[in-house]
C-alpha cells in the first residue's frame, strides 16, 4: 500500500511535528517513508506544510501534487490546497478556524474536527496537531495507533517526554471526533 498525506497550517501549529510523528511510526513498522517539509523564512505565522508518503515498496516522489488526504489547520491552507485533493480523497479540516462553505468539492469527503476546541478542553491549545494526527489515523490506516505512541518518544525531544500521556489523550480525542463525524 502507498499512502500520501499533506498537512498544512501556519507556523507554530505543529504541522511539521505531526508529519514527523507519523513518519517515525511508519519507520517503526518497517515501512518506507518520505517526509518533505516546506515552510517560509518566518518562525511563526508563515505557512507551514509537509508531505508524508508511507509505502510498503518504494516511496517514489516525495512531492505530491494531488494528495489522497489533506489535513488543514487554517483557512489559508484550505484555500491553497483544497482544490488539489485527489477526487475520492479526504479533507480533514480544523472547523474551529476553517470555513469550508466556499469550497466546491462534492467529489471528496470533508471531515470537520474542532481541533482548537478539543485541544482547549484537554487544557492546552498546543495539542491541536495531536488532535489532527488522531483524526487522520481514525480515517486512514497508514500506521497503527500503537506505533504512533511508540514514535512520540523519537519525535519529541527528551525534555518534552513528560507530555507524552497528554499527547496520547489528544490523539485519542481527535480520533473519536473524526469517527463520530464520519459516521
Amino acid at each position: 500500500m502507498r499512502y500520501d498525506l499533506m498537512i498544512a497550517g501556519f507556523g507554530g501549529q505543529g504541522v511539521l511535528l505531526a508529519g514527523n510523528l507519523l513518519s517515525y511510526a511508519a519507520i517503526e513498522e518497517g515501512k518506507n517513508v518520505s517526509y518533505f517539509p516546506a515552510y517560509g523564512v518566518e518562525k511563526r505565522g508563515g505557512s507551514a506544510t509537509c508531505t508524508v508518503v508511507i509505502a510498503d515498496g518504494a516511496v517514489g516522489s516525495p512531492v505530491v501534487g494531488n494528495p489522497s488526504t489533506l489535513v488543514v489547520l487554517n483557512q489559508a491552507s484550505l484555500e491553497r490546497f483544497g482544490s488539489k485533493v485527489r477526487p475520492g480523497g479526504i479533507c480533514i479540516y480544523n472547523s474551529s478556524l476553517v470555513d469550508v462553505s466556499g469550497l466546491d468539492r462534492g467529489d471528496i469527503t470533508l471531515v470537520p474536527v474542532p481541533m482548537n476546541e478539543i485541544a482547549m478542553e484537554l487544557g492546552d491549545s498546543r495539542m491541536v496537531n495531536m488532535v489532527a494526527v488522531g483524526a487522520y489515523l481514525a480515517l486512514v490506516p497508514a500506521v497503527g495507533t500503537a506505533s504512533v505512541a511508540g514514535a512520540l518518544e523519537q519525535a519529541l525531544p527528551e525534555r518534552n517526554h513528560r507530555f507524552i500521556p497528554a499527547n496520547l489523550k489528544a490523539i485519542e480525542a481527535g480520533g473519536a471526533a473524526a469517527r463520530q463525524k464520519k459516521a
Binding site: 518520505s34 517539509p37 517514489g60 516522489s61 516525495p62
Partner: protein
C-alpha cells in the same frame, strides 16, 4: 544490517562524512544546508576533530585547502551564493591537485535568489565554476540514503584522483527525511598521500602549489589534469535506469526531480505509455555513452530540470543528433516544484507527438 534511522538528507551527508573519516570541517552558515555544520559542530570535537565556523565562505574554502595540503580528510559545505564565493579556492585546489569535499545544497538564484529547491547551479558545478579550465567530479544524490553513501564515495574519489569533489543537492534532498541505513565505509585501496606537507624537519621538502612558471611546465600540468579527466570518464561514471529497456520515450533528470519523474513514469506505464528513466548520478563525468545508447534506442529523450535548461545541453551533445531531445524545465523559486501529475501531463504530450 544496521538499524534504520530516520534523518534529514543534510544530516545524512554529515554522517557519511564522519564515517568516511572526515575530521575537519570549515564553513559559514546559509540556508538550506545549515543542518550540516550544526551536526558536525556537535559531533567533531568529541571525535578529536576540528569544527570551525569561519568568518566567510572565502576563508572556509582556504582552510579546507590548508587541511587537505596537510593530508587530512576535510570538507566544507554551503549553498549557491556561498559556493560562488568558494570558486576561487576550488580552482586553486584543482590546480594544486588537492582532495577535498564540497557539498552544495543549492538554492534558487541568481544573486541572493531564494531558499527554494533549484538545479540552476548545474553549469557552475560541471563546467569548472572557477577559472582555469578544470573539472571536478560532481555527484547528484536523489535520496537521503544517497546523501550518505555518495558523500562517503566523494571522499574516496577525492583521494583517488587528488581532486576536489562536489556533492550537488537541493532543499528537497537536503531537508527531506527518509530511512537511512548507515552503511560502514567501503574498503578501498587508496594511494598514500606522499605529497602532503609535514613542516620543518619532515625530510625532503614538499611543495603544494598551483603556480607553474617554468618553460612548458604549465602546459604539461594541464595535460596531466586533462588525462585525469579522461580516466574519470572511463572509470567513474554512475547512473541508474528505471524501465528504460523497452522505452519509446526516455526521461532524464538528476537529483530531486528524478524522484518526481520516476513516479510520473510509473503513472504513465499504468496508462500503457512506454516511458523509462535515465538518471545521471555523476554529472561530471557525465554518463554520455550510456545515455546516448539508451536515448538512441528510445528515439526520443525528454530532459526535466528545475531550471530553464542546462543539463539538456550535455544530453544533446551525448545523443549528437541521433535522437530527438525535448525539454521541460521550471525556473527556481517558491511553489516551482513540478508535481508527478504535472510531469505525467508533459510525458503524455511528448508521447502523443511520436
Amino acid at each position: 544490517m544496521s538499524k534504520r534511522l530516520f534523518v534529514k538528507g543534510n544530516e545524512a551527508a554529515a554522517m557519511g562524512a564522519l564515517e568516511a573519516g572526515c575530521r575537519y570541517y570549515f564553513g559559514y552558515p546559509i540556508t538550506p544546508q545549515s543542518d550540516i555544520p550544526e551536526y558536525l559542530s556537535r559531533e567533531l570535537p568529541g571525535l578529536g576533530g576540528e569544527f570551525i565556523q569561519a568568518e566567510s565562505e572565502v576563508a572556509s574554502i582556504n582552510m579546507l585547502l590548508g587541511a587537505s595540503a596537510c593530508g587530512k580528510r576535510a570538507m566544507t559545505s554551503s549553498s549557491s551564493p556561498g559556493i560562488s564565493l568558494k570558486q576561487e579556492g576550488i580552482s586553486y585546489m584543482a590546480g594544486s591537485e588537492l582532495p577535498g569535499v564540497i557539498i552544495n545544497i543549492s538554492r534558487s538564484g541568481p544573486g541572493l535568489g531564494g531558499i527554494d529547491a533549484s538545479q540552476s547551479d548545474y553549469f557552475q558545478s560541471v563546467k569548472g565554476g572557477g577559472h582555469g579550465g578544470y573539472h571536478i567530479p560532481v555527484l547528484a544524490p536523489n535520496s537521503v540514503q544517497e546523501m550518505y553513501d555518495l558523500t562517503m564515495h566523494a571522499f574516496d574519489l577525492a583521494d583517488l584522483y587528488r581532486t576536489p569533489v562536489m556533492v550537488l543537492g537541493d532543499s528537497v534532498v537536503g531537508q527531506m527525511k527518509e530511512a537511512l541505513v548507515p552503511n560502514p565505509r567501503p574498503q578501498r585501496e587508496l594511494p598514500e598521500k606522499d605529497w602532503a606537507v609535514r613542516g620543518k624537519g619532515g625530510g625532503e621538502q614538499r611543495v603544494v602549489k598551483s603556480l607553474f612558471l617554468g618553460d612548458g611546465e604549465l602546459e604539461a600540468h594541464n595535460w596531466k589534469l586533462h588525462a585525469k579527466y579522461q580516466v574519470m570518464k572511463e572509470k567513474e561514471v554512475m547512473y541508474e535506469t528505471y524501465l528504460a529497456d523497452d522505452a519509446e520515450l526516455l526521461v532524464t533528470g538528476f537529483g530531486s526531480v528524478s524522484r518526481i519523474a520516476q513516479t510520473a513514469i510509473a503513472m504513465a506505464r499504468e496508462e500503457g505509455l512506454k516511458v523509462g528513466l535515465f538518471r545521471p548520478i555523476t554529472l561530471f563525468p557525465f554518463p554520455e555513452k550510456a545515455l546516448a545508447e539508451a536515448g538512441i534506442r528510445a528515439g526520443r529523450v525528454l530532459v526535466v530540470e528545475l531550471n530553464c535548461g542546462q543539463m539538456v545541453e550535455d544530453v544533446r551533445l551525448a545523443v549528437n543528433g541521433k535522437a530527438e531531445v525535448g525539454f521541460y524545465g521550471r525556473p527556481p523559486g517558491a511553489g516551482s516544484l513540478p508535481s508527478p501529475e504535472e510531469l505525467l501531463d508533459v510525458i503524455r504530450k511528448s508521447c502523443a507527438r511520436i
